[in-house]
Amino acid sequence: MTVPIILYFSTMPSFLIQRILLAAYFFALYGALGLIAQNQSRVTGNLQSNGNFFIKDEKIGAANTPQYDYQKFGAESWLNLNYSNWGFDMGLRFDLFNNSNLLNPLESYTGQGIGRWYVRKTIDKFDLSGGYLYDQIGSGIIFRAYEERALMIDNALYGVKAGYNINENWRVKAFTGRIKQQFDAYGAVVRGGALEGFIKQDSASRLTFAPGIGVVARTSDDETVSQIVNAIATFAPADSIGAQYNTYAATIYNTMTAGNFTWFVEGAYKTKDVMNDPFQRRADGGRGILVNRPGYTVYTSLAYANEKGLGITVEYKRTKDFSFRATPFRIGIQGPLNFLPPMARQNTYRLTARFAPATQELGEQAIQLDLRYRLNKKFSLGLNFSDIQLLDGTELYREIAPEFTWKGSRKWQLLGGVQLLHYNMPVYQGKDEPADADDPIQFLGGGKENYVDALTPYAEFLYKFTPKRSLRLEAQYLLTDDEFGSWINAVAEIGIAPHWLFYVSDMYKIPHSNPENFPSDKTKFDGLHYPSVGAVYTYKAHRFSLAYVKQVEGINCAGGICRFEPTFHGVQLRLNSAF
């Protein structure tokens, strides 16, 4: 009976569904709590809450948003409850946004309600689920429904999914639904499926394969097609394109493991799709127009690791016209159906993470190498290299980052490294970067027009006074004449296990030695401090933090649209709790 009930739900108004579900859920939960001693029922959950107190400071640009000007406080919270019994899994998540700047850093967003619900039942070899579902096919190139709260990404599939285990090694699944958009869903209907398997010749074999194929189709809604058609009607004949309701994407992938080697490869193709190309020239000379083109992505990753401490991973990706969204009019993090793997490492230090490359879904080719080698118990080396280009060979991003870790004794450990960066400013941030004859790292080829060239040494030192008391120090120095110039950042963190962590940090803009030679925009942060101080308290699975934070502004551009990320100045409260 599960499937007909879910299908009936999908035709009902969402508020009605929410109320019925809420009542049913708490009825089930109440019953479960009463019967918990008798049954195999299980209740789990977690709560994440963020509270931001905004303190206006016009000098650093912390002003002119509703939060700074008059609201003064904003919050986000997610309360998640999961319940399992009688072969059912079900869950409900309450989402709350009060004067939040997470959706749009320049605006205030308020909304609350059921952010997610799902029901799942396993019957023999069948696996049936409905509601807001997270899933992916392969590495996510043609389909990935996932959540990333810090970026306000929640593109769950609001629909149904059926899976079938053909045998212990092969499984097939199919799904249909719409992509979540805050407390609603985009109009486009998505359907798809995948067949995945695992092949091993015999139990002694070190050679295994995990192949898979998948397909996804998206049918645009009438409103979107109407907008596309009306847009095309205004195009000059030279710009005119056709349009269609349906776009199909297919992928084939395999993971091969042979001894110490692991090789993943995936190739995906997408039929003609109306996409927003912000860089395509129009007949009137401007840029930014709808295009209707097929696309493809090839991604492969080869990894080797042995017991002697050597680990190598090499990745390659080539993407052409693989923007796959609920509507072509959504950009950046809005409305994607898929996920293209990033080809640069995720930097964690504040200054090494200052220039991050956004995936260019309309075309890029990239290679990444990551190498780790443990020389002995005390000393290990690492090297990360990534290079990203447009398909015409234009350099977008190059990062070379060698580093070492030295475990001096049980008491202390030192990590050190340097990041060499070459970063295309117009493509990633929409800003120009003039040639600079006085660039301090010309010996590394710095000073080129349109690029930020930076040299960032970094170090992290951990000292354990006792098994429960530790001190962690980190520092980075970003050396460049590009963008706003050089910065320095330092953090000191004291840990008193198992409950307390205290930290203080400061990011300081080193003044230009000759500011009169630079435009005012380049020197506006000269001499400013951006300090933070905070405390974290952890008790079992509960974590509470309180911090005073001052963060510098930045501009992030994606798809030709620039998003201004304003300075943050205020107090942040965080609560994470699992039960």
Partner: protein, 279 residues
């Protein structure tokens, strides 16, 4: 194995069974009496903004007087909107930023970034703001709006004295049907063809032609409430008077007036009109 074959057939069916669809016909747009207002957010350091301006100029060639554009420089987007200072190689001569632009943008809804355009302030379902940041979406929205019959007429007459620079404006509002709910009238002054610095792609253009720049909102930024009942065939007249500052070139100034709703989130513009000063 049979099940596996069946699964493969199922997936093939899923992907290919409905590949063929009837081609979508691209219609010819019929333009009636509807005048569409585009409020564009721009900035002098915004390198993508001229692309939006060029698209709107191209559409104005197509739709002539049926498309009215107002370009606002609202100081809400950090450095993208800041004028070039005297320390910059090509300093800005005129600061286009106004408090009116900030207030109006806050009233309509601040977008994620610029360039952005609100087409008749039409609220797209599930969107936070009527300002649309994907340039490629603008022409389709304009095309949709042009085909809607306006429920109200808006007509401007004006009298401009070149000596005193006094501008008297009269706006006549003539509903075709009874309109319920709160409606407002907004009246703006724009100036066209201002030569000044603008970032255009990677180039800082010293003599860029800035179009339809918002100079002043004569009414309240969120519009003056129309207190008279908007009944069919009624005539409502509103009068305004102001002195144009010396630095505004009167021969390139225009009056833009429009009637709009004042709901939340429905602030849709029902009809607009534009008249050149001294015309």
């Amino acid at each position: 194995m049979n099940l596996r074959t069946a699964a493969l057939l199922f997936l093939s069916f899923l992907s290919l069974s409905s590949c063929k669809e009837d081609p979508i016909l691209i219609p010819e747009l019929n333009v009636g009496t509807r005048k569409v207002l585009v409020e564009e957010l721009s900035g002098v350091r915004c390198q993508n903004c001229p692309d939006g301006a060029r698209l709107l100029a191209s559409l104005q060639e197509q739709y002539k007087d049926n498309l009215i554009v107002v370009t606002m420089h609202a100081d809400l987007f950090g450095t993208l909107v800041k004028p070039y200072s005297q320390n910059d190689p090509k300093p800005t001569k005129d600061d286009f930023r106004t408090q009116d632009a900030i207030d109006l943008t806050n009233f309509v809804g601040v977008p994620l970034g610029i360039p952005a355009a609100a087409v008749n302030r039409r609220q797209i379902p599930n969107e936070e703001s009527p300002f649309v940041i994907a340039i490629s979406q603008w022409s389709g929205l304009i095309g949709q709006q042009l085909q809607i019959q306006p429920p109200v007429g808006v007509f401007i007459s004006q009298d401009y004295d070149e000596q005193s620079r006094q501008l008297d404006i009269e706006v006549n509002i003539t509903p075709d049907v009874d309109l319920a709910g709160e409606h407002r009238l907004s009246v703006m002054i724009t100036q066209d063809s201002i030569i000044d610095v603008q970032k255009d792609g990677l180039v800082t253009v010293e003599k860029y032609v800035h179009r339809h720049v918002l100079r002043d909102i004569v009414t309240r930024p969120d519009g003056d409430p129309i207190t008279e009942p908007l009944t069919a065939r009624a005539l409502i007249t509103k009068k305004f008077s102001l002195n144009l500052p010396e630095k505004w070139d009167a021969k390139h100034c225009s009056i833009v007036a429009f009637v709009h709703r004042n709901g939340t989130p429905d602030k849709e513009v029902l009809q607009a009109a534009e008249k050149h000063v001294g015309e």
